[in-house]
């Protein structure tokens, strides 16, 4: 028997955060009432609670908390503590969860220079470059591009800006000629307001600009690729009063231990000290270990149960003859369940060798009857009985054990068998499924024992007391019965079929007629109930996520 791990109560539950060194960074959706509980600690917390909090502080928390006295930004804490920003962020999250700090988030527009903007900052604005040339010579408009070395767009923008500042004039001679004004010369020596902005250190926060700078920025940003602007979320961290209390009590406590290390054990350095307290209720990330398949685990239990009830397991071939599967069970060769539409016939080998002495006895039972029976009155086809099929019912194991020299009387037998029937595969049908079948053989057993047996099965395998046994039909049993059990939500559900083997089955195989109670339980359906499955195909699921999360108890 395989030892099995108990599953989660809710197998589909995902862990609620990512654990780091035994702590958890909580994801979104973490219950807010837990926070409320912690802020409750915040207001007028007794000293004992503070001590517990201090003991539970992680190495990172101990480093970050003091740094927050002078800083509110992560970057600032990083600088002071020398920790990485990821470490600081984690510590802040843990501290916030405990109510020691509070965080706010601010959106900040940050600008930096674009490619052309950076060009203008280093080479000068196009209007300065144009004005520089004009300070030594006039330029005919037709030669503007060539003389200034500016692109057509730059030249036009520069010209527009300079005319707006009255730094240049256009004179009409033969052609249009551009020349510098006095005001232009003053500007050239005093400098452009735009250049002051371009020479600042980027990236910079838009909020830090003066009113004049803002005006210049709003003009310049219209030019293509002068500036890039990003919206940043900046986190600010503030100490809560509980955090200040804890800080004033001191967090740099050497007596708090973290890991149990070999050197710690060797030095007995743990003696008289406390270990950092974990949040033991925090979720942990899901991990997958070795596990039995849930339906096989169920079948293991079923097998174990039968053995404990005194049943011996039997087995038989999957590639079976029609003889053991049907003829030995007194199913006439013209029976509709033997149709090509119901049973899988095997290509090679198409025939199976049989013990002809048993075949002869079964043939007689079919044709003219045995043991007080009139038989089926037809010509039994010895060739057909050898035909190879895929076992369509586990009862073939029962017919084999009856003819076996290993049979013990009295005896109880069961088989968990794979059987095959042609069927359209859907949520309730498989062509390849499991059956549980068996017999109880003993002189003097009758219908009253059968009813007792079926009620026991319902109790042991389905945990049901309320059962009904109604007339049924199987070719190999007479009387035949069907077992129904009251399901709490589905109502009456068929659990299986049963009966007393006909003398025509027992006599030819055993040589005499002894009472044989025979039964079959729809084990796939029982498994579906037990595992809470509504689609039979899930019993053979290929979904690893499903298998990893399924219950195996």
């Amino acid at each position: 028997m395989i030892v099995r791990r108990a599953g989660n109560e809710n197998p589909w539950r995902k862990s609620q955060g990512v654990a780091v060194d035994g702590r958890v960074i909580m994801g979104r959706g973490f219950s807010s009432d837990k926070r409320a509980g912690i802020s409750g600690v915040n207001s007028g917390a007794p000293r004992g609670v503070n001590k517990k909090i201090v003991e539970g502080l992680h190495r990172l928390e101990r480093a970050v908390l003091p740094a927050l006295e002078g800083q509110t930004s992560i970057a600032g804490v990083v600088k002071v503590t020398g920790l990485s920003s990821v470490e600081v962020s984690r510590a802040v999250q843990w501290l916030e969860k405990k109510g020691l700090v509070r965080t706010t988030h601010e959106s900040v527009e940050q600008i930096s220079l674009g490619k052309i903007g950076a060009d203008a900052a280093s080479k000068g604005l196009p209007e300065r470059r144009l004005l520089n040339i004009l300070s030594s010579q006039d330029i005919p408009m037709s030669l503007l591009g060539k003389k200034s070395g500016l692109s057509r767009d730059e030249a036009n923008a520069a010209l527009g800006a300079l005319r707006f500042l009255s730094a240049v004039t256009l004179k009409k001679d033969k052609n249009l000629v551009l020349s510098i004004t006095d005001r232009g010369r003053t500007i050239l020596s005093n400098g452009f307001a735009e250049e002051l902005l371009l020479h600042k250190v980027f990236p910079l926060n838009v909020k830090s600009l003066s009113v004049d700078e803002k005006r210049v920025y709003s003009q310049l940003r219209k030019r293509k690729d002068y500036f890039r602007s990003d919206v940043l979320k900046i986190q600010h961290v503030f100490l809560e009063s509980l955090g200040r209390d804890i800080l004033s009590a001191g967090v740099k406590d050497d007596s708090i231990l973290d890991r149990v290390t070999t050197s710690l054990l060797k030095s007995r350095g743990w003696s008289g000290k406390t270990f950092r307290r974990y949040d033991v209720s925090a979720g942990v990330p899901q991990n997958n270990f070795g596990k039995v398949q849930m339906y096989r685990a169920f079948l293991d239990d079923v097998r174990q149960k039968f053995v404990s009830l005194g049943f011996q397991e039997m087995s038989g071939p999957i590639v079976e003859s029609e003889f053991w599967n049907m003829d030995a069970l007194f199913m006439p060769q013209f029976h509709s369940a033997r149709d090509i539409h119901d049973v899988y016939y095997v290509e090679f080998p198409s025939k199976i060798n049989l013990d002809q002495s048993i075949v002869k006895r079964v043939k007689q039972a079919h044709e003219s009857g045995v043991d007080g029976s009139a038989g089926w009155h037809y010509s039994f086809n010895v060739d057909k009985t050898c035909s190879t099929i895929l076992r369509s019912q586990g009862t073939s194991c029962s017919s084999r054990i009856l003819a076996s020299s290993n049979l013990k009387i009295p005896g109880k037998y069961f088989g968990i068998t794979r059987v095959f029937r042609k069927d359209v595969i859907d949520a309730t049908h498989l062509a390849d499924f499991n059956q549980t079948e068996g017999i109880v053989i003993e002189e003097g057993l009758n219908m009253r024992h059968l009813v007792g047996l079926l009620k026991m099965f319902a109790r042991e395998f389905a945990g049901v007391e309320e059962v009904r046994i109604v007339p049924g039909y199987f070719p190999f049993t007479e009387p035949s019965a069907e077992l129904f059990a009251k399901h709490p939500t589905l109502g009456w559900v068929e659990l299986g079929g049963a009966g007393i083997f006909r003398p025509e089955v027992v006599s030819p195989l055993l040589g005499r007629n002894v009472s044989v109670l025979a039964w079959g339980l729809g084990i796939d359906r029982l498994g579906m109930f037990k595992l809470g499955i509504t689609d039979i195909r899930s019993l053979f699921s290929q979904d690893l996520d499903y298998l990893r999360n399924s219950k195996v108890l």
Binding site: M1, I2, N288, G290, K291, Q293, Y295, R296, D300, R303, V307, L309, G310, F311, Q312, E313, S315, P317, I318, F334, H335, S336, A337, Y344, Y345, F348, P349, G369, S373, A374, W376, P410, K412, R418, F420, K422, A431, D432, L445, N446, M447, R448, H449, V451, G452, L453, I469, V470, P471, G472, Y473, E478, P479, I500, R502, F540, Q542, D543, L544, D545
Partner: protein, 549 residues
């Protein structure tokens, strides 16, 4: 298991008692039948016993339920008249379809509902009980058009022409087999014979071409008809008589009077239908032995009469349609059903027996136990699979497989010859799931060498993640072999599904019992896998034998 549809109003009026749905559903259990649907007036009933065709007519079901509901008990009576109709059977049908039972029905009112029921019963009985008309086939005619006597004979396929039902022109018998839908469906029953069966009346008009089709002249029954001719032909004498009796009871239940047929065959004269009850001995000890209690004579008589049988002095009387009784235990079941399964007092089993599993199970479970410990997830697959997965995608030959002849999908056309391909298939369907993925499966594989079929218990492993390699799985195998106290010998071997030089066979006490290796990239790509896979498969049956050497 036939399913039939009835009108609840029609059924109730035949039973002659108003019953509730619950009462009806409960009494169906006595007929080993289940109510599948009840909507409006329409009811759908499934019959589990394939040997009781007398319940597959609405009238037959009504007869039975009358007993259960206490309306009428004992053997049902069939109204017959002193008149006869004649049927002559010619020698030519011998060996082809020599049995016939036939009679006339007078004083009958054929309503639309009755006609629909008649067609349904005829189809179900001929299909399920008559093995798709091979053993029996039924024909029903408006008898006023027929001039008696009727002759049943076999004729040359092309010698007779008539218009079959559903067509508008004359065809000869061969043309009917080759062209008529019913000819195509049922033709194979008689196509092997030189002559085909035919029913004609004294004016040489064709009634039908059994078991294929009626003539459209004489064989079309319509609502309003007040006289019928019924015949059933077949290759099984007993079944022919049973079906004849079933329909005689149906017509009688509908108020019809049976005009028996005088059947002349090879100088003998037989009266049809056979409706005289049959007597069957029921020894007292069989009852007690089977049911664990005794019944008084009166209890027996009452119980059997309730089941529409009768009983007197150790003998049960059966209506002629009850051919399913072939052993006294069949009667004991009727007795038990009548007395009520609910009233059976259970007894515990008191004999001590020793339980146990199959001999291989402890080894199987140890291996599974160790595999789980090694971190592997167990899977459970279907044994039916296809060549594509087993060999095409694995880049290896078929190891010798058992294939089924009548498969409906190539994906379910053979039994698995090994398990690794199914593990790769599972891996291919879980590429979105968390890695590492380590799978194992234990179960049967079937390998065939000519006519020799071997069923082995095997266990297979597949491990897939970024850094997986041969060593990892070999460590697992070493761990498992230590756990069962076995010393394996590894030898490089050839296997097309694995990378050459990275696949080994494993022997125990000189028997090769397993192989292990890194799956070939070509195989991985045929499964659409993007991570390396190492896999191994161990034959538990052979391992067990090797361990016992």
């Amino acid at each position: 298991m036939p399913t039939l549809m009835y009108s609840f109003k029609d059924l109730s009026s035949l039973i002659k008692k108003k019953i509730s749905r619950e009462q009806f559903e409960e009494s169906l259990k006595f007929a080993k039948a289940e109510l599948e649907r009840f909507s409006g007036d329409e009811i759908l009933v499934k019959f589990n016993d394939t040997n009781q065709p007398h319940l597959w007519t609405v009238e037959g079901l009504a007869i039975f339920l009358q007993g259960i509901l206490g309306v009428e008990e004992g053997i049902p009576v069939v109204k017959t008249s002193g008149k006869y109709c004649e049927v002559r059977v010619e020698k030519s049908v011998r060996g082809i379809r020599q049995y016939i039972s036939a009679f006339k029905v007078e004083n009958i009112v054929v309503t639309e509902e009755f006609l629909a029921q008649l067609i349904q019963s005829q189809e179900k009985i001929c299909d399920v009980y008559g093995r798709k008309r091979e053993k029996i086939a039924v024909g029903i005619y408006p008898s006023r058009k027929i001039s008696f006597p009727v002759t049943f004979k076999a004729v040359q396929p092309k010698s007779v022409r008539f218009t079959p039902l559903g067509m508008f022109e004359d065809l000869n018998l061969q043309e009917i087999l080759d062209n008529h839908p019913k000819g195509l469906e049922y033709g194979k029953i008689i196509s092997g014979f030189k002559k085909y069966p035919l029913l004609v009346d004294s004016s040489r008009n064709v009634l039908s071409f059994p078991p294929i089709i009626n003539s459209s002249d004489l064989g079309a029954v319509e609502p309003g008809v007040d006289e019928l001719f019924f015949e059933v032909t077949g290759t099984d004498h007993q079944l022919v008589n049973v079906v004849s009796s079933i329909f005689a009871h149906s017509f009688s239940m509908r108020g019809g009077v049976i005009i028996p047929g005088k059947i002349f065959f090879e100088g003998k004269k037989v009266i049809a239908p056979k409706i005289a009850p049959v007597s069957f001995k029921l020894p007292e000890d069989v009852i007690e032995r089977t049911l664990g209690r005794s019944f008084s004579e009166k209890e027996k008589k009452d119980a059997f009469r309730k089941m529409r049988l009768d009983y007197s002095a150790g003998k049960v009387l059966l209506p002629s349609y009850r051919a399913d009784v072939i052993h006294p235990v069949d009667l004991v079941e009727d007795l038990a059903i009548s007395a009520g399964y609910d009233n059976i007092k259970p007894l515990p089993m008191t004999t001590y027996t020793v339980g146990g599993m199959t001999p291989l199970m402890p080894l199987i479970n140890s291996l599974r136990f160790l595999s789980v410990g090694a971190g592997f997830q167990e899977t459970f697959s279907q044994l039916l699979t296809g060549e594509e997965i087993m060999s095409d995608r694995m880049g290896c030959p078929d190891f010798g497989s058992v294939k089924v002849k009548n498969y409906s999908s190539a994906n379910y056309s053979m039994l698995r010859t090994w398990i690794i391909p199914q593990l790769l298939e599972i891996l291919s369907k879980n590429k979105h799931n968390v890695y590492p993925q380590k799978l194992f499966e234990e179960g049967v594989v079937v390998v065939r060498n000519d006519d020799d079929v071997k069923e082995y218990e095997r266990i297979a492993f597949a491990s897939s993640h970024t850094n997986v390699d041969f060593t990892e799985l070999k460590q697992v195998f070493d761990f498992i072999f230590r756990g069962i106290g076995v010393v394996p010998v590894y030898e490089e071997c050839e296997h097309k599904s694995f990378i050459q030089g990275r696949v080994a066979s494993i022997s125990v006490n000189g028997t090769k019992i397993a192989f292990i290796g890194e799956i070939h990239p070509q195989v991985l790509s045929s499964f659409g896998l993007e991570l390396s896979v190492v896999a191994a498969e161990l034959n538990i049956t052979l391992l067990s034998e090797a361990m016992n050497k």
